[in-house]
Chain length 362, copies 4
Amino acid sequence: MAKLRAALVGATGLAGQQFIAALRNHPFIELTGLAASPRSAGKSYGDALRTANGMTAWFVSEPLSPETARMQVISGDALQARDYDLVFSAVEADVARELEPRLARDIPVFSAASAFRYDDDVPLLIPPVNAAHAPLVREQQRKRGWKGFIVPSPNCTTTGLAVTLAPLVERFGVKAVLMTSLQAMSGAGRSPGVIGMDIIDNVIPYIPKEEHKVEVETKKILGALDAGGAALTPHDIRVSCTCTRVAVMEGHTESVFVSLGSKATVAEVTQAMREWRGAEVARDLPSSPVRWIEVMDDPFRPQPRLDRETHGGMATTVGRVREDGVLENGFKYVLVSHNTKMGAARGSILVAEQLRAQGLLG
Amino acid sequence: MAKLRAALVGATGLAGQQFIAALRNHPFIELTGLAASPRSAGKSYGDALRTANGMTAWFVSEPLSPETARMQVISGDALQARDYDLVFSAVEADVARELEPRLARDIPVFSAASAFRYDDDVPLLIPPVNAAHAPLVREQQRKRGWKGFIVPSPNCTTTGLAVTLAPLVERFGVKAVLMTSLQAMSGAGRSPGVIGMDIIDNVIPYIPKEEHKVEVETKKILGALDAGGAALTPHDIRVSCTCTRVAVMEGHTESVFVSLGSKATVAEVTQAMREWRGAEVARDLPSSPVRWIEVMDDPFRPQPRLDRETHGGMATTVGRVREDGVLENGFKYVLVSHNTKMGAARGSILVAEQLRAQGLLG
Amino acid sequence: MAKLRAALVGATGLAGQQFIAALRNHPFIELTGLAASPRSAGKSYGDALRTANGMTAWFVSEPLSPETARMQVISGDALQARDYDLVFSAVEADVARELEPRLARDIPVFSAASAFRYDDDVPLLIPPVNAAHAPLVREQQRKRGWKGFIVPSPNCTTTGLAVTLAPLVERFGVKAVLMTSLQAMSGAGRSPGVIGMDIIDNVIPYIPKEEHKVEVETKKILGALDAGGAALTPHDIRVSCTCTRVAVMEGHTESVFVSLGSKATVAEVTQAMREWRGAEVARDLPSSPVRWIEVMDDPFRPQPRLDRETHGGMATTVGRVREDGVLENGFKYVLVSHNTKMGAARGSILVAEQLRAQGLLG
Amino acid sequence: MAKLRAALVGATGLAGQQFIAALRNHPFIELTGLAASPRSAGKSYGDALRTANGMTAWFVSEPLSPETARMQVISGDALQARDYDLVFSAVEADVARELEPRLARDIPVFSAASAFRYDDDVPLLIPPVNAAHAPLVREQQRKRGWKGFIVPSPNCTTTGLAVTLAPLVERFGVKAVLMTSLQAMSGAGRSPGVIGMDIIDNVIPYIPKEEHKVEVETKKILGALDAGGAALTPHDIRVSCTCTRVAVMEGHTESVFVSLGSKATVAEVTQAMREWRGAEVARDLPSSPVRWIEVMDDPFRPQPRLDRETHGGMATTVGRVREDGVLENGFKYVLVSHNTKMGAARGSILVAEQLRAQGLLG
C-alpha cells in the first residue's frame, strides 16, 4: 500500500524538526514536502538550517538523515494541496491563521498551532481521551465547505493534565482541579525561547496566555460531542492554574490538586490511572505507548529528566498520589509529560493515526 | 551598654555560617562562643573549616572575618550556659533534642532545628505575624522549671506562606490554602544536600517531611494564644501542599491558591498585603525590613534570583495576584521568600530581637 | 565643582544598563542623557524598558532608580555633542561605526564596542596595565581633526588575561600564552544572547571572533607607545586561545599556560602578581579596587560565582599557580574576571577616570 | 557456547550500575554475581538500592531489569573466585587495593579503580590505542604468581585525550600537549559527588589528583612494550593540564593544544583523525563503535550534551581543529568523550573483549 504523502509547514523551526524526527520510518506516512519561509525556499533542507557562522541549527536529539537534508525546501505560500494527502503544521499562530485554512480547503491539516483550537467546529484531540470527538470534523467540513479540515493538537501543558484527569472523570467524576506547572524550556521554542541568563538559578512565574489555554482546553477536551456530532459541550470541571518556567530542557512537571465527584481512596485513584486503557481506537496506533499513564511508587518520582522519555515520550508518568484534605474528595499528585513528544509533534501524528483508523483520513 | 553574649552551636555547618554572617556587627548581640562537634573542638574556627584537600569550607557569600576565623571552637558538650546570655542553635534535630534542653535550663535558646517546634508550650514565632505568642515562653519555663527557654524558628517553607497569609487572615479570614513550592537547594544544606547530578535539568517532586511541617506549622503560627498565655489554639485554616525542589541556589518560590473567609477583589487583596505592617513590636527591630511584603505589578515577578534579597532577604515578595475561580472567594498568587535569611538564621535573630523588645530576654 | 555631563548611547540594552548602574553616585560624572533607538525615543526610560507583555526589561542586579526611570530617552541620531562633556557608548559594533565618529568630532567617546579597537591611532586602555598609552588620543585627534576622540575598552575576555600577564611581563618577560576560556553568558548579551536550551547541561566550544580579538588585543594592550606618542608597537608575546561558553551567569574563568622570559619559581610568580600595583595614575581612581589581582591559596578557587564580585568586580582573582613542565619557563594558573564590570562598563568608566586624572578629559 | 560468568564488585554504586547497564545482553559475558558492602549483603539487588525514605537509588538512564533487581547481593569479602571466569571492579581505590589482588590470584580482574594503574607490570589499556600492551599481563602473572591478573581502565579524562593523540602520534609524532578539561559531574560519583549548590552558575577549577593522573597515564598508554613483553617504556610526550568541573551531567570536554613532531596542515591533522581505525584487534569487538573518532566541521561542535552519546558513547568527537601559532607545529582542537561509557564501565568491558579476542581471557 502506498504511504500517505505529507507536507510539513514550518519545517525549519524547533517544532518542525520534531515532526521530522517523529515521522522518520513511519509505517504509513511519508514526508514528501518541507515548507518554510520564503527565505529558505529553494535551498536544500540542510542548507536552510545552516547559519551565517557555520552552525547547523538542528536541535532535536535524533540525527538529521542525509535524505532529509537533501530535500528541497519550498515556500509555504507555494505549497499545493494536490501534491499531498495531508499536512502537518508547525508554524506560529499568526501564520497558521492564513495558511492552514487555504490548505484545509482540500486536505486535512494537523496543527501544533493554537490558531483554531477554540473554534466551535474544531475538535481538540488527545486520542486516548476523546477520540469520540473526531466526527466533529465532518461538521467542520460541512459548515466551511472544505474537503479537508483542521485538527490542532492541544497546548502541551494541557495534554498531561487531561490524560491524567480522564480516568478520574470516567471513574469518579471530577469537579475541580488546581494545578501549578513547572514547565520545560523547550515549550518556548528558540526564537529566542528562554534566555539562559533568565533561567539559570531561577524560576519564571509567568508564561503569557498559558494558564488561559489550559483552563479552556481542559474543559473542551473532557467535554462531550452531542448525538448528531455537530456540537461539543465542554465539561463543567472548574480549572485554575499557575504556570511557571524552570531550568529543565524537556518535560513539563505539574502539581495537581483535584476534587473528585465521589469518595475514593488513594488506592482506588491509583488503580483508576493504572488500569486506564483509553479509547479503544487509540490502543494500537503506531505511536501509541504500551500504557498512557505510569503510576510510580517511589515518592521521588516522577522527575522530568528521568521519566520524560517513558514509552517513547508518549506516556504521562504520575507519582505522589495522596489525599488532599482541603478539597471535597480531594486528592493530589504530580505528573510529568513530555511536552514536545506526546504534547506536540508526536501527539499530532497520533491524531492523524487515529483519524485514519476511524476512516476520516485518506 | 554591654552587648548580650551569644553562643552558636553547630557553628561549622551551612546554617551555622549563616548565623555568623547575620550576627556580624549586630547592635546588641555579640557572638562570643562557637561550638561544634568534638572533631572541631580546640581548633580555630578557620582551621575547623579547612578540609583535607586544602579547601576552606565557608559557603555563605559574606566573607569570613579574620576575627571569627581566629576564634577557638569548643565542643557543644562542653558549652557552659553561665558564659552566655543566649544561644543560637544550628544543629540537626537529633542533636538539638539533647543539647537544647540542657542549655535552656539556664538561658534562652533560639533554634533553627525542628526538634521542639510541635511541643504545646513552645511558640513558633514570626515576629510580624505572631509576636503575641511570645508570652508562651513563660508557661514553658513554669512547666519545665527552666530559667531559659527554647524558641525554634519555623520551617523555611512555612515562613513566606505564613507572612503572606497573615494580612489576609486579619482582613478577610482564610479558610483554606493549597500550595506548591519550588524550593531552593540551600534548604537541604550540604551533607550532602542536593547532588548536582540530581537537580540539573530536573525537578525533584518530594522533600521528606516538608509538607507535613508546612501544614502543621502554618496552623500553629496563625493560631491564638489564650488569655492566660498558657495555651495556643491553632488556626482552623486547612492547608494542603506539595513541596518540590528545583535548580535554584537560594529563595523558595511558592504557588499559592487561597480561599478567603469573605468576598474580596484583587485590588483589595493586593492592598491588604501592601499595607500590612505586622505586629507593632516587630516594626523597628534591627533586622526588620522596611516592609514585610512587597507586591510587584510586573507579571514576570517575583523570581527567586531577582527578588530573594529584597530588603536584605527579610521581605517576602509577591506577584501575580489573581482571582482563582475554583475555590470559594478564591485567589492565587506567587511568592518568593529567602529561605536562609528570613526563613532561617536572620529570622531566628529577629525573634531574639523581638523577645528583647518585649522584655523576655536578658 | 560641576560634574561632567555624560550621555549614554545604547542605554536600553544590557551593556547600557550596566553603565547606568555603574555611574549611579559617581563623584564627578553625571549621566544627563540617555539615547537609544528611534523606537524608544520620546519615552521615559522606564517606559522604554517595558515590553508588550508587561515586563520591565531591567536586567542588572542594582535596582533602577526612579530618577533614571523618569529620564526621557532621545534617539542616538538626535544626540548633540554640545550638550555633553563625554559619551559612553554601549551600542553594537555596526551602529558604533557611524555614531561614535560623529560624536568624537567634538567630545570624548568611551566605548564598549569593538568597532575602532584595532585602528592604529586608537589606544585600548586597561588603566593599571597601560595607562601610558593614553597620549595616543592626541595623535588620534591630530590625524582625524577631532576635538574629541574614541577610546574603546578591550574585549571582556582579554581584560583579565592582560591584567594577570602585566606583572609577569614587567618582572620576568612573557614569550607566549595559551589560554582556554570558560565564559559567562552575560558576555553574549540578550538579543538573544545564549539560549537556555543550548547551555544547560552543556558547553559551547566556540564564540565567533572571540579568539582573534583576544590574540590581537593582548599584544596591543601589552605593547609600547613610542617616544613621540604617535605609534604603538604591539608586544611580541605569542597568544593562542580557545574560547568556550559555560552555564555561568557572570564572570569569565580562564585556564592560562604561560611561558616566561626568564626562570622563576611558583612563589616568585605568585609574589609578582600579589605585589603588583599597576600604573601609578590608576591607583586611586574612584573605580579602582584595593588591589587589581588577588591570588588565592585555596586550590578550589577562584570560582566565578564566589569570586567575580571581589573588590566590586574590579579585581582579577587568580589561583592554582603551578609550574607547567611543558613550556619553557612554563607556569599555569586559573583566573576569574568579572566580564561585565572590570571587563565592560565599569572598566570603561575607569578609563574615563584615568584620562581625567591625566588631564586628557574635560 | 557458554557465556563467561562475571562477578561485579561495587555493584550498588554509580560505577557499578554503569557496568550492569553496559553488560545487559552482552553476547558472551553474563553477570552472575553482584557484590557490595556487608551492609547490602543478603538483600536482593533491588532492595539494596532502596533508601530509608523509599527512593530506589538507581541512577543510570537504562532501566533496572527485574531479573537484576531480584539477584541476591553478596559481600565482596565472601566472593569466591572459583564461581566466576572474570571480575569487574567498581570499588573505590582503597577497597580495590585489598580486594582485587585476592581475586586476581585466580581470575582476571577488570577494574575502574586507580589502585594498580601505575604498577610497572600492569597495562593501562584503551583497545584501539594500545592493544599491543596486553601481553604485559603475562609478565604480571609470572611476577606475582597469579593465575589471573588486574587490568585497570584509565582515568576517564585521559581516555579521550589518548584516543585523539594516538593518530597524531602515529602520523606526525607528538612532542607535547597542554590540555584544559571541562569535566562532567558524573565523574565525581555520588558519595556525595558534586553538590548542586557548588556547581550551579559556577566552575570549580580543581579536581584533586586528576591532573597528575592524566599526565602520567597518557605517557604510559602511548608508550611501547619492549620486545620481550616484560616492560613498558612510557612515551616521551610532555603533558600539562588543568582540570575543571562544570555543570554538565555526562561527557568531558577538553581543550587541547598539541605540538606535533613534524609539519602538518589542518587538513592533514583532520584526516589523520578521521581515517584512524586503531588497533586491528579492537575493530570489531562487541562494544566497538563504527569509528573511534568523529571530526565535526560545524565550529559549534562538539558539545557534551549533543555529542557524548555518539556511537553509543564509545566514540570521541572532535572539532575546531586549527593551527595554534604558538607551539612548534602547534595545533589546537576540542574533544568530547563520554566519561562513564568509553571512559569507564563500557571501556573496561571493551578491554575484556579485546583480551578474549587475543586469547588472554578464558
